[in-house]
Amino acid sequence: MKNILTHDEILLARDIINIAMANASNAFTQMAGEDFKIHSVAIQEKIGEKLKFKKNINDDLIVLASTIEGEIHAESFLILNHNDAYELASLMLTGDMENNEIMRDAMLLEIDNILTASVVTQFANFFDLMIFGQVPKIFRMKKTEAENLIHDKVEEFELHFSVKTNFITHQSKFYPKFVWVFSNYFLNQIKKVKENEKTLELISKNKGLIEKYILN
């Protein structure tokens, strides 16, 4: 493992990522009408280490993948099992739509679109860059296939910086995972904004989001 960021830069990256993830949690709460929190934001700065899901993760997964384009390249993965998808459908869809598989997929794609965009919005504002998420894609795959899909992106970006977290809600029992893989450019941006007063002020203004939505 090789450290690319200094200790202070890692703290700054953690703040920016936590605010962005808290913003996603806020969006999830608004969409689902349930209080969603973010649990265990794990930031990894590694080269070539394969992400592995825990053994207790269900083998049949639904993976929503979004490519982030513009001035930062990244890939986001929202990972659920089939039970998560049913639970979400019962929260967000009404009447006939709840049992309609096409609408369920449309709902998942829309959730991914909104969550990814809520994270991207924060990065764009913090770094003052033009970035956006492309139309998300949906895959049904086994756990090892999902690990490979993410690893392929890690290899494509060569040097990577990844974030792995869970959404949790106390009202319902489901725990979608949210994984982000960034290209090296993200690290350069962290270095660039570390003494930028506008960015630091924006971070300080948004720290309330962390307290509200991130569980330590």
Partner: protein, 119 residues
């Protein structure tokens, strides 16, 4: 006569939610377009009073659709409805002539408040 609306959004869920919300209060939805080109074609054919426009579409950006709407001198009020919430995107779309930029997620009330303020 009820006001006419064209919905341009690649998300089936968004199209359904917007369509249902507007029909319920008496708007006439004249088209549901799944991409930018279909949206442009329907806008030229139907000349709707209101267009709801997603910002990221499979074949083009909302800004590309916006440019054509202006070039064709269509008089529709355009509400950009997008998950993309950053300031630079909002400013760009408003500069191109959009009448409002609504960030997802939104409630039906948010949408109707915007529409009623424009028509």
């Amino acid at each position: 006569m009820s006001k006419t609306v064209l919905i341009i959004d690649d998300s089936a869920l968004s199209r359904t939610i917007i369509n249902d919300a507007l029909k319920k209060v008496g708007f006439e939805v004249v088209g549901l377009a799944v991409n930018g080109q279909k949206g442009i074609d329907m806008a030229i054919i139907h000349e709707p009073d209101i267009i709801t426009l997603d910002n990221i579409l499979p074949d083009m950006l909302g800004s590309d659709v916006m440019k054509v709407i202006k070039e064709e001198n269509l008089n529709a009020k355009v509400i950009v409805i997008s998950a993309v919430g950053q300031d630079s995107h909002k400013t760009k779309m408003l500069e191109l002539g959009a009448d409002y930029y609504l960030v997802k997620p939104f409630t039906n009330k948010d949408l109707l408040d915007v529409i009623y303020s424009l028509v």
